[in-house]
Amino acid sequence: MLFRNILFFMGESWKNLFRNGWMSLASIGVVAVTLFILSVFVLINMNVHHLTEVIEQDVEIALYIDEEATSDEREQLVENLRNHPEIKKADFVSKEEGLERLRDQLGEENGLLEGYENPEDNPLRDAYEISMHDPEAVSSVAREIETYPAVGGVEFGEDVVENLFDFTGVLQVTVMGLMVALALTATFLISHTIRLTVMLRKREITIMKYVGATNWFIRWPFLFEGFNLGLLGTVIPLVGIYFGYESVLQWIDANLKFFPSLIPLETAMGQVIILVVPLGMALGIIGSLISMGRYLKV
């Protein structure tokens, strides 16, 4: 391929893009919408994953120590917890700490805790906050450590936790399915659009063939055009996602105090760009290739 031809093909493809005005806009729009939805799904998916992890980390077993346990028994308990293969971490929370936390949590209403200032009157028990390597093992581990000596009681949010795991699981499968469907839709739409462009230029192609153009001479501008359409189609969703996600983050920050934090803007955009830009370009080129085949037999 001659260098002057490369320049010419690129020029032609851009000229065509502008000459076809709304038609190109439509293609770019289709690509943009598809990639946008795809990006939104990716963000949702990433965040569901992220939140699942956050929530999983929050799922802990609270182990209350029997007030009558001896210090030997307590040491034995620590040993047991340390050696248990499923347990990642066991943090000791003294009953004083517990009371402090409760005070903080209750805030202005801590009049309720009046009369407990004296350590002797502390109604709470010493405890361990235990987190697991595999959060799904929570209930079996809880049932096991309940039988250890010195254990006064064990607590965890049984049913809700299990349902939440199931729920996010189903959601992730659904989102994954939709993502695949959308990726296919995007390829389909681009090839459809370029196929139509090829059809609209059928006359041009025919004439080129009859004046002696080679197949590749005819193909190049279409390849460039698909590439351009795909690339331009990524700009809108990237900008949209940037500002959209930023405002979602701000909104959550302002309105949902208790909501765990989402993936930060930079990380999220990085992922989206890595996914969307090559996808847009690849789809454009694949789209062109699919559509050109049948029109270019000499």
């Binding site: 041009e204 004439i207 080129m208 063939k209 009859y210 004046v211 002696g212 153009a213 001479f217 000499v298």
Partner: protein, 228 residues
Amino acid sequence: MIEAVNVTKKYNDGNQALKKVSFLIDRGEFVFLVGQSGAGKSTLFKMIIKELVPTSGTLKVFGRDVSRLRGKEVSVLRRNIGIVFQDFRLLEEKTVYDNIAFAMRASGASPREMRKRIPQVLEQVGLKKKVYSRVNELSGGELQRAGIARAISNRPAMIVADEPTGNLDPQTSMDIIKLLRNINVKGTTVLVATHDQQIVDELKKRVIYLEEGRIVGDQEKGAYVRAL
């Protein structure tokens, strides 16, 4: 240049447009192809540029059997033949200049060649005034001249013109034919299908007569009406 041996063309609908046609055209000849509407003139032209292939028989152009040409070879064949199509085949939305440039570029010319050559050929066909007019702003005769300009633009070894004067007044027709004759004099082979009695009679060149797909006559210095 062109060697046809028993060339037959049967269309898919059973219509036999050419029946065992044989003839030989040498380098540098000027040949008229005449015959009633539907006689098979355009069909023959389409086979010369491999838009169609013969159903049987062999057609050699530039010494090579066109049925055997593949891919790039077809491009090379077409670059060496300047074709004037009966239906013009110009791009409506482009200017006259761009139409010719488009064809020249497709057949491998450089931008510099185009800039030099295009005004030249438009001058030759008398269309210089319309260089930058879009094709859909041209009159029928102007379209025809634009088509001729494109055909001669990359100095082909052979020019094949299908009804190049159908939309032209007698004066312009004669100018165009004289242009083709001048090109022929410089060595280019020219093959013209026409219904224009006046120009055939005036030029006194070789005439091949087609009738319902058969060659019924082939005369040096012939006239439109076949001498018996």
